[in-house]
Every structure is written in structure tokens, then in C-alpha cells.
């Protein structure tokens, strides 16, 4: 069922149709103009919901021949062929003469039987009981079967066996006869008569002009002869009732339609009445006879009435009863009133179209009143203008056709109904229309039909699409053949047509008739000028574009325009001249045409070949994608070489562009060959060996020679611009504070980074803080454990901490090494939002240490747990991640110690304030260690045994000695020195005391602050070895040495059993801080090696420069 809601709305319809629009259910009904429809409206019957006029009309005709189905099929009364109207005109004229015609003579279609077209006579002759040639169609003859009765239908026509009223010319009811007496010519005189007849003829019977309104005549009135006035009133009340949507839908189907088929198949038409009264013609017929053939609607011109198409249509032996329209479709059916009435019947009776079916005619939007409708009342067909010449027909048709027809035309020409020009029409003179038998209105049709709009050939070739549309619209309930009146004989006629007239073609028929064909054959050449553009001028640019040949420079509109309007070259500037030259060269480049089978065959002239993306050829892609000058190209090539892109071979591709499998054997051979060449190159580089030897000698030499006179040690002072306040940040730590340390380096860089890490860790530990070490480097964790393990058992540190050597630092009390932190940057981010709930799924990073033991840190927030974040990073990237992921969110003081290589990356963070302190390289490590050691009292192991040793140690310690077990506090300075009278306690008698004297040169450092370097004096860090005599002399000379602010004397002991072999003369050793061996020597070595490297680099640069100039000279020569 087509969506009737898409049908034209009231505003799209002609004014005369707007009054017929019925609102959808639920909508506010539009102001109905039906009651005020002007007199003489040709569609006045359609204004009323009742469709009983047809019922009445055909009720009588039912026993006769059914009406032409095409009248209903093709759009209702508006589609009535003019030949029919001609007949009716004659009858109406006869009736008017007899005084029984309608009030408007021109609106009364007389239908004399003599006017039946010949081709219909032939069609009738195909029936079992062919009607006489002079007989009118029997369905028209049945119209005269109604007798008029006085007041109302008084006498029931003689009913046949089926109960239908017998056709009888006297059956015209009197009220109809009274109506017939009304004429336009005698309108004024008819008024009194009309008033007089009102007593017998109800008002509804008369429509404005007094013309009978058959639709107002209930079927009961026609079928039953003895209606009482009460019954008639009931009928009128029913007629005046507002119809429901279902009723409206049902009303769209005339009653005579329901009877079609049943009568047609079973009933033998009776002898036609010689004359049918015009009173049997519905008013929608009235006036239609006035139309000319040329004024037929264009869509009707496209209809193919050839028997071949019709014969294929199914012929229903019997019309099924009109099905009750479903309630769901009632609303859609109501919209049918928006269409022209002659369209309304089709969707009513249509079955739901199949998918892909050509669009329903009834759905065509923007339907307008056909021209021929507007011409009602115009001169008759005889006065119609002669059809235009066939050659001018398409253009004229295109120009004249309404919009709705244009869409219809497109629908027919759509691929769903392919056009097959090869389907040549076949003339079937036997079964087809004989020459001259075609309706004369057809004679003027073809010129107005566009050549490609609706070809009969196309209809045939398309599987009789159009007739299928009709058939499907009718729901298979209406026989198209019957609609044309060609199967008046019923099934037998259809069978006969199927056998004999299968090849009937209307085009051929018209050709034989000397009439121009309805449609032109489709041109064989698809490139023919589009109809309507024959006279159009081709644009110049298009003409120019066609001047060249494919592949030539001029084969483009742009090229043509350029060529046409180009300025002489001598008049161009240099820039434009060059540009033209380049343009010509580019256009002259032959572009290989694509293979005919390619998808782009024929269009390659507009596409330039391009390379297929390859992940390997990144450099080439970069070059191909951008415009680069030579410098940039060289730069890209260099970068590609650095990245090794050039070394990567492009994979071999098959014909389809897919990479071929790698030949592993060949690949292995290639790798082996590359390795061999690499080794060969390494052997062929004697210069490398020279450089290596020079560097090794420079580095090793300080270990065997004294360079102290040549190379100065670094100044034990910090540079705030480079180091910030690193020492101050650590010095601010208090006992129990925690420091989060990122240990981001491994054994590979331990030679450099350990020199930084050890003094920093010592300082933190000496401050009594707890370092918590975490690393995203698995090897870093391993190395951190190694470093912390050495520190934990370091005698010097333990002595500084006042802890005996048998009580090393332990985890997690003194320090914590957390497990490896996976995830890299993500792991660092997670570190800032961690939890220590061991029982939870997220057990937290700080929950357990590297050994899996609980740390007891109870870290909830880093900000509240840690006082400082220290990063020991080998690479600048590691430091950057810590700054970004930890430093920013946590907002804790962040210090860093990095390698020299990472210093350029770290310095900006120091300058931006994101780092509070920075140490880099061995130099900073040396300075920091020197300052730290200067602040710490040296520890000298003096293996002495017995009470003498104890007494000596106690004497040496004196008032400035720090008791064992009390950690040193280097932060508070000399003023915090414990009481000099503090007894030495906690030492068993069997323990040998390690006595020592203050380091002589440790006096400059008063406090451990950044401002501790008033003078850039060198700080000898290697502790001298004191002789026993010196120690003894010191002990004896000054049993109570004057305490000074800078002296700190620590006494520690080793858990050694005093043995008889122990001798007071055993070597006394000044304990050094960890990793202090060769500290100064390493500085000398590093300095000398750097100098050597610089010299080598400089010499190498000069050598390369000289070589370059030499080669250039040779090249110039």
C-alpha cells in the first residue's frame, strides 16, 4: 500500500481540489468546501463521502456489460477516454432534446451507441456474444435501464436472475427525469419547476444547478423500488453523516467496482439498449466530452493499451468482494482525497506494492489539474490542434509536462524498468487495433510524449511494468483487459487475446494507422543529445575542452582556457615565463595509461602516479610529502642514515603488493656478511687504536705518577647555579624523616653514579633519615641493594653513627629498598597514588621491600610521608620522568644527582625551580664528598689492647670525645658537641679501642652549609696515616687537650678479641669513607683523560678539515 501521506496536500493541489481533501484521522478537518462547491463542478460527486452514485449507476448496468475498467483503474472519472465522452455527448444531446437531459447540456454526456469506436467494436466482437457494431457498450446500455419515477425511484427495473435491475430505458426515475429537465439554457425557467419538484425530489438530489447528483442517490434507492419516505430519510441521514476513515476508504471504491468481474465472468450481456439515457451517466462524466484529444493528460498518453501487455495480465474470472480495508490503512486511505479524483481510485484498490516496484502513480507529488481538465467546456476534440511534428515532440513534451509527470517519467525510466530498444513492435492486425480504429483522441497523443519517457517497448521489455503497476495497484481484482473493454467476453476473450494478440503493439498499430507513434524509439547511441538540448549552444569552454586528444596537453578545460587566453611569452615577466615553461614541461610528461582492466582506466590522465606507503621508506615518504630544499633533503638523509632507515631493505612484494616471505637463509647470509664487514672495518682502523692508546695512557698514568702539581683538585664549594641547595635540602632532614630515592641507574654507570650516591646516602643516613629506595630499573634495584649493603656495614659510617660494627644498618629500620617498580612512567604515576594496605588487592608499592618483608612505612600520601625526593639518574630521560610524574603531583622538594651526560637535561629543571638541588658528574661528587668529610671527624683505628689502651683512649678522648652509641650530628655544628666529660661507656673490657686524633686539616669547616667555603682552598681528602708516636705524644702531651669548635673525636671499637698477639704497635689506620680509594687520583685521571680526549678531538677535527680541503683541492684540480 503506498504511503498516501506522501500524496499532495491541500496546498499542493489545485484550488478546485482542495475542497476534497479529507483530513487524516485525528487531525482537525480542513474547512470543507464541498458544500459550497460551485455549481457545475465536474467532481461534485466526489465531495460527498458516498460513492453510491456509481453504485446506482452501475447497479443497473451491472446486469449489462460492466463499465470500462480503465475508467476506474486509471484514475477514476478523470481518465475517461474522450471517445467515451463523445458517445455520452451524443446521448446527452439526445436526452436533452427529449427533455430528459441534465440541466447543463454541456455537462451531460450523451452516449449514443453509434459512437462506439470501431476498435471497441472489435473488442466486443471478440466476446462470446459480440454486440452489434452499432451497439453502444452494454455497460453503457445498462445506463438506460433505470426508470425515472415521480418523487423517487418508484418503479424498480426488471431484475434479472441475479437481481440486478434490467436495463430499461424507461427505468429512469422521475426524480432523475425532473433533474434532466433542468438545463442551463432554461435555468431561470427551471427554477419554478425545481421548486415544484422538491416535494418529490429531495434536495440532495439536486446539486446546485439542479443537476442530478447520483452520488447522493443511495444504492438502495436504485436497487429497491419500494422505498418509503422514512426509509429514504434514513438513507439521507446516513448520507449526511460524517463518514469514518474506514468508510471513506471504502467509499473510494465504487460499488460498481465490487461487482465487476462477477458480472463480467458469469453474465452474458444482454442486448444493448439502443439508447442510453444521459441520466445514467454520473456527473463526473458531465462535461468531459468537451475535452479535446490533445488535452488528454500526459500520463494517459503513456498508457499502453496494446493487447500484448494486457494479455499477459492476469484475468480474474470473478471479482472478489471488496475487502474491508484494515483499520491501520484507514488513515492512509483518507489521504486519497488529496489527490485528483481521477487518481483516487487506484490506491484504493491497490495491493501493497512490492519492493523495487516502480512508484505508484498515485504517489506522484505536486499533482495538478491536468490541462485537459482545465479545458472542460472547451471546443471538442475535432477542434483540437493538430499534433506537432514528431521531431519536435520530445522537447515540447518535456516543456509541457507537469512536474508530477516528470517524476513519474523518471520512475518509469529507472533501472527497475529497463528499456530495451531492441524490442521492436509487432503489429498484430488480427487482434490489435485496425488502422483507423484507434480512438481518435489517441491521434494527438504521441507528439506530446517525450521520446524516452514511456516507451511501449520499454514497457514490454521491462516485464510489462506499467501494467504490472496497474494490476498490482488493483490488487489483482480488476482485469486490465476488462478495463479496456477488450475482454468483454470474459475469460474466453482473454484466452483468445493471449493466443492471437500476444504480439500486439500499439506503436505499430499507430504506424499503420498513419498516426505518429506514441513514443519514439530510444536512440541507439547513448551519447545522443539529450532531448530538449538540441538547440542549445555548447559552452565555449566545453567546446575547447573537446579539442584535444587524451594524453595531449590540451586535453583539459584548463589547458584549453590557458591556450585560448595565453599571453605572448615575450610579454610575460620572467617569473611567469618560467612558470609557463614548467607547466608545459609538466603537461608534456607522459603519464602511463592504466591497463584497461584497472578501476581507474581512462581517468589516469587526471591522476599522477604515487608511491605506495611503506613503513620502511619513511625518509622517502617525508621527501615525497613535503617540499624540501637541498639542505633539508640532506638533513633528512642524514637522519635516515642515523636511524638506520637506509639500511633497512624494502620488502619484496608480489604482484598484488603483498610482501613476500623472507628468505631466512639469504637473510642469515646477509647478516653474516655484514658482521664480517664490520669486523673488517674495525681492524682496518689503526687511527682508532691510536686514539684508544692515547686515552688509556692518559687515564692510567695518574695512578702511577703524581699529577698533584699539575692538576689542581676541585674547590670544595658548591656553585648555586649548578648545584642549587642540594646540601641544604639534605641538611634540613631530621631524625626519622624519610627520603624517597629513585635509584635509576645500574652497574653500567656505577663508576660515575656511585661517587654521587654514596656521599648523598651517607649524608642522609648521618642525618638520621631513612632512605626509601625505589627504581624502575631492575638492575638499579640490584645495584642499590649492593650499595646500601656496603654502606650498612661500613665502619666509617657506623663510627660516625656511633654504632658498633656488629650493629650494621638494617632494613627496614634504617633504610628500605622497595621492589622493582614496573610500568615505567605509568608505574611512577602510580607511585604517587599508592596504598600500603597489604590485605587489599592493591597492596601498594611501599608495603613490602625487595625481600618481601613488610616495610612498615604506612605510606598514605607521599607528601606527608617523605620530606625529600632524590633522584639518582643515569639518563636525562629518567630524571625527566621523575620530575613530570612524581615531582609535579607530589610537590615535594626534589633533588637530583645525574651523570654528566644528563646534566644538560637536568639544568633547565634546576633553573625552573623544579629541582632544589643538582649534582652531576664526578666533580660534584668529589666536592660534595670533600665537604661532607670535612664536616665529619676522621676515624682512626688504633688497635690497642688492654687497660692501657682504654686509658689511652679515654685520655685521648678527653672532654671532646663523643661516647659510643651516640650518633654524630653534623648539622648542629660544634655547639652541639656532647659534653667533653661524657664518659666512654658501653665498651667491654675485651674490646680494643680504636683511638684517633682529629684530622689536622679538617678545621676549616665550621658548619655544613652552602656557605662553608669562604676560601677556595683545596681539601685533601685522603687521610694521612698517623704514627704511633704521634698518637702517643698527643695523648701524653695533652691529656686534656683544649676543645676547639672544629675538633670532633669519635671513639669506636671493633669487636675484636684481645689476644696476646695483639701489639700496641699494630698499624693504626685512619678509616676512610666508603668509595674514597683513589679519590684524588681518579680526579687526576679524569682530568688528564679529558684533556687527552679534547686534544684528540681537536687534532681529529683539524685532520678532517685538512683532509677535506685536500680532497677539495684535488677535486678542483
Amino acid at each position: 500500500m503506498p504511503d498516501n501521506r506522501q500524496m499532495p496536500q491541500g496546498e499542493d493541489l489545485p484550488d478546485w481540489l482542495r475542497g476534497h481533501i479529507h483530513p487524516y484521522p485525528g487531525e482537525e478537518p480542513a474547512p470543507s468546501e464541498s458544500p459550497a462547491e460551485p455549481a457545475g463542478s465536474p467532481l461534485s460527486w466526489a465531495e460527498e463521502p458516498e460513492g453510491d452514485s456509481e453504485a446506482l449507476w452501475f447497479a443497473d448496468a451491472g446486469s449489462q456489460r460492466p463499465p470500462p475498467d480503465e475508467i476506474a483503474d486509471m484514475g477514476g472519472e478523470a481518465m475517461e477516454p474522450s471517445w467515451l465522452f463523445d458517445d455520452l455527448d451524443e446521448e446527452a444531446a439526445g436526452a436533452a432534446d427529449a427533455g430528459t437531459g441534465p440541466a447543463e447540456p454541456e455537462a451531460v454526456p450523451p452516449s449514443p451507441a453509434e459512437a462506439l469506436p470501431d476498435w471497441l467494436e472489435i473488442a466486443d466482437s471478440l466476446g462470446e456474444e459480440p454486440a452489434p457494431a452499432a451497439a453502444i457498450p452494454d455497460w453503457l446500455a445498462a445506463a438506460g435501464a433505470i426508470e425515472a419515477d415521480e418523487g423517487f425511484v418508484e418503479d424498480e427495473p426488471a431484475a434479472d436472475e441475479e437481481g440486478f435491475p434490467s436495463p430499461d430505458a424507461a427505468a429512469v426515475p422521475d426524480w432523475l427525469a425532473a433533474a434532466d429537465e433542468l438545463t442551463l439554457d432554461d435555468e431561470e425557467e427551471a427554477v419554478p419547476e425545481e421548486e415544484a419538484a422538491e416535494a418529490a425530489t429531495p434536495e440532495w438530489v439536486l446539486v446546485d444547478t439542479g443537476q442530478l447528483s447520483p452520488e447522493h442517490l443511495p444504492p438502495e434507492a436504485a436497487a429497491e423500488e419500494d422505498l418509503t419516505y422514512e426509509e429514504w430519510q434514513e438513507i439521507q441521514a446516513e448520507a449526511e453523516r460524517e463518514p469514518s476513515a474506514e468508510e471513506m476508504l471504502a467509499e473510494e471504491v465504487p460499488d460498481w467496482f465490487e461487482e465487476i468481474g462477477a458480472e463480467e465472468a458469469s453474465e452474458v450481456p444482454s442486448e444493448p439498449v439502443g439508447k442510453t439515457g444521459p441520466e445514467f451517466v454520473p456527473d463526473w462524466y458531465l462535461g468531459l466530452e468537451e475535452q479535446g484529444e490533445a488535452a488528454q493528460p500526459e500520463w494517459f498518453d503513456n498508457l499502453d493499451f496494446s493487447v500484448e501487455a494486457l494479455a499477459a495480465a492476469p484475468i480474474l474470472p470473478e471479482e472478489p468482494p471488496e475487502p474491508e480495508p484494515p483499520a491501520v490503512e484507514a488513515a492512509a486511505a483518507a489521504s486519497l482525497d488529496e489527490l485528483p479524483d481521477w487518481f483516487a481510485d487506484m490506491p484504493d484498490q491497490a495491493a501493497p506494492p512490492d519492493a523495487g516496484q516502480p512508484p505508484d502513480v498515485g504517489q506522484l507529488p505536486g499533482a495538478e489539474l491536468p490541462d485537459w481538465f482545465a479545458d472542460i467546456g472547451a471546443p471538442p476534440a475535432a477542434e483540437a490542434p493538430a499534433p506537432p511534428a514528431p521531431d519536435a515532440a520530445p522537447a515540447a513534451a518535456v516543456a509541457e509536462q507537469p512536474d508530477w509527470f516528470a517524476e513519474f517519467e523518471e520512475a518509469v525510466q529507472s533501472p527497475a524498468a529497463p528499456v530495451t530498444p531492441a524490442a521492436a513492435p509487432v503489429v498484430g492486425a488480427e487482434g490489435g487495433l485496425a488502422p483507423g480504429e484507434a480512438p481518435d483522441w489517441l491521434a494527438g497523443l504521441s507528439p506530446e510524449v517525450p521520446a524516452e519517457a514511456l516507451s511501449s517497448d520499454a514497457i514490454y521489455a521491462g516485464g510489462d511494468d506499467f501494467m504490472k503497476i496497474i494490476d498490482e495497484e488493483l490488487g489483482g481484482e480488476i482485469d486490465p483487459l476488462a478495463a479496456l473493454g477488450l475482454s468483454a467476453g470474459g475469460a474466453a476473450d482473454a484466452a483468445l487475446l493471449s493466443e492471437k494478440d500476444a504480439t500486439f503493439d500499439l506503436d505499430a498499430l499507430l504506424a499503420e494507422s498513419g498516426l505518429p507513434p506514441i513514443v519514439e524509439e530510444r536512440a541507439e547511441d547513448e551519447d545522443e543529445i539529450v532531448p530538449g538540448l538540441e538547440g542549445a549552444e555548447m559552452p565555449d569552454w566545453l567546446a575547447d575542452a573537446q579539442t584535444g586528444e587524451p594524453g595531449t596537453p590540451g586535453y583539459s578545460a584548463v589547458g584549453a582556457v590557458l591556450r585560448r587566453s595565453e599571453t605572448p611569452e615575450e610579454e610575460l615577466s620572467e617569473r611567469l615565463r618560467l612558470l609557463r615553461k614548467r607547466t608545459g614541461e609538466a603537461a608534456a610528461v607522459a603519464i602511463p595509461a592504466a591497463a584497461p582492466s584497472d578501476a581507474l582506466a581512462g581517468v589516469t590522465d587526471g591522476l599522477s602516479p604515487t608511491t605506495v606507503f611503506s613503513s620502511v621508506a619513511v625518509g622517502r615518504q617525508v621527501q615525497a610529502g613535503v617540499t624540501l630544499d637541498k639542505t633539508q633533503e640532506a638533513r633528512v638523509a642524514t637522519l635516515s642514515a642515523l636511524l638506520g632507515l637506509e639500511a633497512l631493505a624494502e620488502p619484496e612484494l608480489d604482484e598484488e603488493g603483498r610482501p613476500l616471505p623472507v628468505d631466512k637463509a639469504a637473510e642469515a647470509a646477509r647478516i653474516k656478511e655484514a658482521a664480517r664487514r664490520a669486523r673488517a672495518r674495525s681492524r682496518r682502523k689503526p687511527l682508532r687504536l691510536v686514539i684508544t692508546v692515547a686515552l688509556v695512557v692518559a687515564v692510567i698514568l695518574p695512578f702511577f705518577a703524581d699529577f698533584s702539581s699539575l692538576i689542581s683538585l676541585p674547590v670544595a664549594a658548591f656553585d648555586p647555579a649548578r648545584n642549587g641547595e642540594m646540601d641544604a635540602a639534605i641538611q634540613a632532614l631530621r631524625s626519622g624523616d624519610r627520603v624517597l630515592i629513585g635509584f635509576e641507574y645500574g652497574p653500567t654507570s656505577a663508576g660515575e653514579m656511585d661517587a654521587l650516591a654514596v656521599p648523598l646516602l651517607m649524608h642522609i643516613l648521618l642525618r638520621g633519615a631513612q632512605p626509601v629506595i625505589v627504581s624502575t630499573n631492575p638492575a638499579g634495584i640490584l645495584h642499590a641493594r649492593d650499595v646500601l649493603s656496603r654502606l650498612a656495614h661500613d665502619e666509617f659510617l657506623l663510627a660516625q653513627l656511633g654504632r658498633p660494627i656488629d650493629r650494621p644498618l638494617t632494613t627496614p629500620d634504617d633504610y628500605v629498598i622497595l621492589p622493582y617498580l614496573p610500568g615505567g612512567v605509568v608505574g611512577l604515576r602510580a607511585l604517587t597514588a599508592t596504598s600500603t594496605d597489604v590485605s587489599a588487592v592493591d597492596r601498594g608499592v611501599f608495603a613490602v621491600d625487595l625481600e618481601g618483608n613488610p616495610t612498615g612505612l604506612n605510606v598514605r600520601f607521599l607528601q606527608t610521608t617523605f620530606k625529600l625526593v632524590l633522584t639518582l639518574a643515569e639518563r636525562g630521560e629518567d630524571l625527566r620522568q621523575w620530575v613530570e610524574q612524581v615531582g609535579v603531583p607530589v610537590r615535594l622538594p626534589l633533588a637530583a644527582a645525574v651523570s654528566v651526560a644528563a646534566e644538560p637535561v637536568a639544568l633547565p629543571y634546576l633553573h625552573s625551580g623544579q629541582l632544589v638541588g643538582l649534582l652531576s658528574g664526578y666533580r660534584d661528587a668529589y666536592v660534595y664528598n670533600a665537604i661532607l668529610m670535612a664536616a665529619l671527624p676522621p676515624v682512626v683505628r688504633l688497635p690497642l689492647a688492654g687497660p692501657t689502651s682504654r686509658a689511652a683512649a679515654a685520655a685521648i678522648a678527653g672532654p671532646t670525645r663523643t661516647p659510643v652509641g651516640e650518633p654524630a650530628d653534623i648539622a648542629e655544628g660544634p655547639s652541639a658537641t656532647p659534653s667533653p666529660t661524657a664518659p666512654v661507656s658501653g665498651l667491654p673490657d675485651t674490646v680494643r679501642l680504636i683511638t684517633y686524633t682529629p684530622f689536622p686539616s679538617a678545621t676549616p669547616t665550621a658548619t655544613f652549609t652552602p656557605s662553608i667555603t669562604p676560601s677556595p682552598t683545596q681539601v685533601p681528602t685522603e687521610a694521612p696515616t698517623l704514627t704511633e708516636d704521634e698518637l702517643t705524644a698527643a695523648a701524653e702531651a695533652s691529656p686534656t687537650p683544649p676543645p676547639t669548635a672544629t675538633e670532633r673525636i669519635f671513639v669506636t671499637a671493633t669487636p675484636q678479641e684481645a689476644g696476646p698477639e695483639a701489639s700496641p704497635t699494630a698499624a693504626r689506620t685512619v678509616l676512610l669513607p666508603p668509595d674514597q680509594t683513589y679519590r684524588d687520583t681518579r680526579w687526576y685521571s679524569l682530568t688528564l683523560g679529558t684533556l687527552a680526549a679534547a686534544v684528540l678531538i681537536g687534532v681529529g677535527a683539524l685532520f678532517n678539515l685538512a683532509r677535506f680541503r685536500s680532497s677539495r683541492r684535488r677535486r678542483d684540480k
Binding site: 687515564v699 654528566v900 683513589y1078
Partner: protein, 216 residues
């Protein structure tokens, strides 16, 4: 075997391996490669052990193998393992696409975290610092700004094709690029010098280690 003995043994092993590495100074040889292989193997093995001992097993013990584990904990514990298993499929060419899920997960999160950190931890602070430096020290600030801008301009790859087909860059860009190139040279030189210093530092430490092992 006491720890002291192990330390001595480890010290001598380290001494030998150091000599093997130093043998590369002569040429690429078997001893050098042997030392490299040992180091790489040990490092890989240690990383694997750390990954299992420090990551996988604790995760399993905390989720799937935890006593009284709930369904949520199981799901929470299975998903990462499943993604990890999918990553293993990357080694199988036919099933490598299944590993893309894990890769997408890792890359997506990693890029997001890195991007946030870079913007908030590097770009904005350093830009602000550069602006502040102008006020603190005009010369230094201008040098910083000039170096930054010209270095960025050096890496622009926009050129103009002249009518004669020659591709050139506008002279302002060329000038800025040349200045930026100077800054880049200085920067790379400092990085290179730092790398040399780091190498020499490590080298001296190794020499000291060797001498300490030999000389005591």
C-alpha cells in the same frame, strides 16, 4: 664460604670481565663478545627473576592466591594476566593481532600519562622559566628565547618552489635556522662532552678497581 671470600671472588671475576671488555680496544674479539654475552645474559636473567619475584608472584599472592579472595579480586587479578598473555602472542605471527589489544592498552595509557606529565611537568614550567629568565637577566633570557625559537625554526620543513622549479626557503627562515643550528651544535657538543666525561669517569673507576684488585 664467607662473605669476605665471596667478595674476593667477585672482585676477581669483575677484574677478569673488565679486562675482557677492555680487549675491545684492540679489536672486536671473542673475549669481548663473551663478556658482553655474559653481561647481557645475566642482566636478562636477573630482570626475569625480578619480574617474576617482584611483580608476578606478589600480584598472584595478592589477588588470585590470596586467602578468601572475592570474585572482584579474581577479576581484578585475571585481567592484567590475560592482557599479558595476549602480549605473548605477539611472537606468533598468525596470532599477533591478538596481542594488539595489550599493546593498545599499554601504548594508550603510556602515551596519556606521558603527555600529561610532559605538559604539566616540562613544557609549562620551562616556558614559564624562560619567560622569567628574561626579567631576571635580560641577556640570559634573550639568549634562551632566541635559542629556543631558532632551534625550533631549524626543524621546520617548509620551502617554496620558485617559478623556475628551484626549492628555496625564505631568507628569514634560513637565517633563523642557521642561528638555531649554532645553538644545536652547542647543545649537542655539550651532550657529547658529557658523554665523554661519563665514559672517562667510568673508565677511571674501572682502572682504580683493577689497581685495587692487583695492588690491594
Amino acid at each position: 664460604m664467607t662473605p669476605q671470600t665471596l667478595d674476593v671472588i667477585a672482585g676477581w671475576v669483575g677484574f677478569v670481565l673488565t679486562l675482557l671488555i677492555f680487549s675491545y680496544l684492540l679489536a672486536d674479539n671473542f673475549l669481548y663478545r663473551l663478556a658482553v654475552y655474559i653481561f647481557v645474559g645475566v642482566a636478562a636473567a636477573y630482570s626475569a627473576v625480578v619480574a617474576v619475584e617482584g611483580v608476578l608472584l606478589p600480584w598472584l599472592r595478592g589477588t588470585l592466591l590470596a586467602p578468601g579472595v572475592s570474585a572482584g579480586q579474581i577479576l581484578f587479578g585475571v585481567v592484567p594476566l590475560l592482557i599479558g598473555l595476549l602480549l605473548l602472542l605477539k611472537s606468533v605471527p598468525r596470532l599477533a593481532f591478538l596481542g594488539n589489544l595489550g599493546m593498545a592498552f599499554l601504548i594508550g595509557i603510556g602515551v596519556a600519562v606521558s603527555l600529561i606529565g610532559t605538559i604539566s611537568g616540562t613544557l609549562i614550567p620551562l616556558i614559564a622559566s624562560s619567560g622569567t629568565a628574561v626579567g631576571d637577566n635580560l641577556v640570559d633570557g634573550l639568549i634562551i628565547i632566541l635559542g629556543t625559537i631558532t632551534s625550533l625554526l631549524y626543524f621546520q620543513y617548509l620551502a617554496v618552489r620558485r617559478p623556475d622549479g628551484e626549492i628555496v626557503r625564505p631568507w628569514p627562515l634560513r637565517l633563523a635556522g642557521a642561528v638555531g643550528q649554532i645553538f644545536l651544535i652547542v647543545t649537542f657538543a655539550s651532550l657529547y662532552a658529557g658523554a665523554i666525561l661519563s665514559s672517562l669517569t667510568i673508565f677511571s673507576e674501572r682502572i682504580a678497581f683493577l689497581l685495587a684488585q692487583v695492588l690491594g
